[in-house]
Amino acid sequence: MIRHLFTLIWNRKKSNFLMMTEIFFSFIVLFGVLSMAFYYINNYQKPLGYQYDKVWVMNLRWNQEKPQEVKDIQRRLQQQLKSNAEVEGVTLTSTNVPFTMQQMSGGFFYNNRMTQSDFFQVDKDFASVMQLKITEGRWFNDQEQNSPYNNVVITKALRDALFKDEPVIGKIVAGNSGDNKNPKTRIIGVIEAYKQKGEYAENKPGFLEYRYLENIADSMNVPFNTLLIRVKPGVTSGFEEKLMQQASRIAQGWTLEIKTMPEMRTSYNKVALMPLIIFSIVCGFLILNVALGLFGVLWYNINRRISEIGLRRAIGAASGQVYNQFVGEVLVLATFSILLGILVAGQFPLLQVLGVQTSVYLAAMGISVGIIYLLAIGCAAYPSRQAAKIQPATALHEE
């Protein structure tokens, strides 16, 4: 049966070649879009690591004040805002807060191992304001001010990437200095995750560095540019203006901008999902186009072979066999195209082109194969049924 199908296909190689090319390209396009979709889904399932819903973000831009003056104003700002009854907590941090394009990253070293890692400078109130989940060790407290080390809390992703099963709490490593001879970074805790770029971003390695305003050794530097404010439940946006007035009285002449994290998240995710939506629409159109084309061509091909069908029926083939033959032909065609497609698509996980997990590619490939077969059967079913219905007498009469 299969050999017979091959012969039939080979006899009509010219028109089949065009169909195969179409199916091949459809497979590749589907694979591309589905890989992207699975990548997003895969990321979405990993924990975000923080609670954004009651957090407001205030950006601070100062003028020509000296670092020490800036820090002084920042401290007074933090105290003043915290004194409001509506406010649960206030924390100072570097500019790369969640749902912004800002990014700080560098290598994190441990012995001869290194992984690219995001880093964030935070103070001791950060964990309670962002409601981080600590899975090992502890969070920063005032003890760290007397520590000779750069104290960090790392994410589980960083722990998995560099330390595997080794205990990490209290470990002193080279960290981002990369200086293995004189390691200065001390790990004091591990958090579940901290996906700064939102739900759809990869759960990348990251670490939080402890900073405090009173640090005399750091007098030339201002580590913080942003205030995060956690408000109590039920506080509305009407409170914003009051906050701003308080803040601008203390930070005179500074540019202050306040936004809520949920609204930052909405606009950030809109941008993050836009490519997927556009590609899906374009892909959907291309596949629909191909499906219609295949349907038309198959219909026409089967109509042309009425005499062949008549002959087969006359010598005793059941109508079911005719149906199976036509659907079988299309499936063999689809299989050839898919094998070719897998050969091309398989290069992505094999060569690790984009650093995406292999499981994402495999899932995308599996679903693409399924959709292409469904498409092929769907396009072949109706014309094949028409063909199977043909009475031998009518078919032979046509000739």
Binding site: E22, F25, N63, G253, K259, L292, Y300
Partner: protein, 427 residues
């Protein structure tokens, strides 16, 4: 005269036949039209987006003779160091303003987000610091009032030009605002003029509040090359642009790298929006002068070709089937003495007819989708427009492939003996 008459009649006849054929095979017709019109539509929408971001639209109306300085770049090959950021006001004032070849040079800041409050509700506004040349190089559409002048810059007057959206939100829809006071970023500005909204994709001109550059807190003592400003340069004519670029490169080459330990070269370019803002950032050399425009064009062409490939194969496939299906008709016509030329002529007309209908549908679809995108507010204040040149190219390509795939099989068929064609002959 007589000949012309008969050709005309024949053409009319062919179109009639074509119409009948299209109606007879409704499904095939639908597939062909769907393929042509949707492919054209996606092509048109994509180019409309690109044109929207980089083409000439108010207020950036003279892009053929306008160039921009967006980025300063310092690199050090030895340490692999790189610093790429917008220029400082000091840099632009010291090195760009003295250029002799341009007609006018404007300095403006990157826009920054500021807060304003109306009835306890926050109004997030984007604010830009500009000089007076900014208003002369760019042609804003003033709804009321006028831009601020040299005197305002000199005295650092707290005056502002605001957008229609800002006026409607702050003072009420359509309420005249000139002379009134708006508080943004905790500073009171007197409104000097109101302009039509500018979409955010036009980063050179976009803002919602524009105020004099002298009111910004610029540290006069700071001589750093990097900051938050950009320059817009208007040339006397498009032909002058290479002269300006050469003069600018001459100036840039003489600038000493401020941190020779880490960096060895300083670079900066005056160029168009697409090249300076997008292409150089994505495809440009890390240590060289090449902007990567050639690479960019190659990549875009490849993507467009890949995208066009599938509908094209589909079109060819359908066309070949359509012609084969009509072999018996060709046979009959041959048997009654029609020449190959007449037959090919007929199929040519049929194909062109079909493609033109597809093109028309594509045009309608594109207009509809562009209207939908413009109204949806995905890109605030954007008005996307059809690009006729791209439409022409798209239509031309579908004609070409339609003809190749429709006429070649028809030609082969017309060469067959009438008897074979009647039997549905093999090609």
């Amino acid at each position: 005269m007589d000949h012309g008459q008969s050709t005309k009649a024949m053409l009319k006849n062919y179109i009639k036949i074509a119409w009948k054929v299209l109606l007879r095979r409704k499904f095939f017709t639908f597939i062909s039209l769907f393929g042509i019109s949707f492919t054209l539509m996606i092509l048109m929408v994509t180019t409309a987006m690109l044109d929207h971001a980089t083409g000439s639209h108010p207020p950036e109306t003279r892009l053929d003779r306008t160039i921009f300085i967006y980025f300063n770049k310092m690199t050090g090959v030895k340490k692999g160091s790189l610093m790429n950021s917008t220029p400082s006001y000091y840099y632009l004032h010291r090195y760009v303003m003295p250029l002799k070849t341009p007609e006018k040079i404007a300095i403006s800041s990157n826009f920054k987000g500021v807060n304003s409050y109306v009835n306890n509700k926050r109004l997030s506004l984007d604010l830009k610091y500009t000089d007076t040349n900014f208003w002369e190089i760019l042609e804003f559409n003033f709804l009321e009032g006028k831009p601020f002048n040299q005197q305002d810059i000199k005295n650092a007057n707290k005056v502002a030009v605001i957008s229609r959206h800002t006026r409607d939100q702050y003072f009420g829809s359509g309420v005249p605002a000139v002379g009134k006071t708006i508080i943004a970023d905790g500073v009171s500005y007197r409104v000097n003029g109101v302009v039509e909204d500018v979409p955010i994709s036009r980063l050179n001109s976009y803002a919602q509040v524009w105020v004099p550059v002298s009111t910004a807190n610029i540290n006069k003592a700071d001589t750093g090359l990097f900051g938050e400003y950009m320059a817009i340069i208007l040339a006397k004519s498009p032909a002058d642009i290479p002269k300006i670029q050469a003069e600018y490169q001459h100036v840039v080459k003489q600038i000493k790298v401020p941190d020779p330990e880490n960096f060895d070269t300083f670079r900066s370019y005056a160029e168009g929006i697409l090249e300076g803002m997008f292409v150089r950032q994505l495809f440009g050399d890390r240590y060289g002068d090449n902007s990567g425009m050639a690479k960019f064009i190659a990549v875009v062409t490849l993507i467009v070709l890949l995208f066009m490939l599938m509908p094209t194969i589909n079109l060819v496939n359908i066309n070949v089937s359509r012609i084969l299906e009509r072999s018996s008709e060709i046979g009959v016509r041959k048997a009654f003495g029609a020449s190959s030329r007449t037959l090919i002529g007929q199929f040519l007309v049929e194909n062109i007819f079909l493609t033109l209908i597809g093109g028309l549908l594509g045009l309608l679809l594109s207009a509809l989708v562009l209207q939908l995108i413009s109204n949806s507010g995905i890109i605030p204040y954007a008005q996307l427009t059809l690009n006729w040149r791209v439409f022409g190219i798209g239509l031309g390509l579908s004609l070409l492939f339609g003809l190749l795939s429709g006429v070649i099989p028809a030609y082969k068929m017309s060469k067959l003996q009438a008897v074979e064609a009647l039997k549905g002959g093999q090609l």
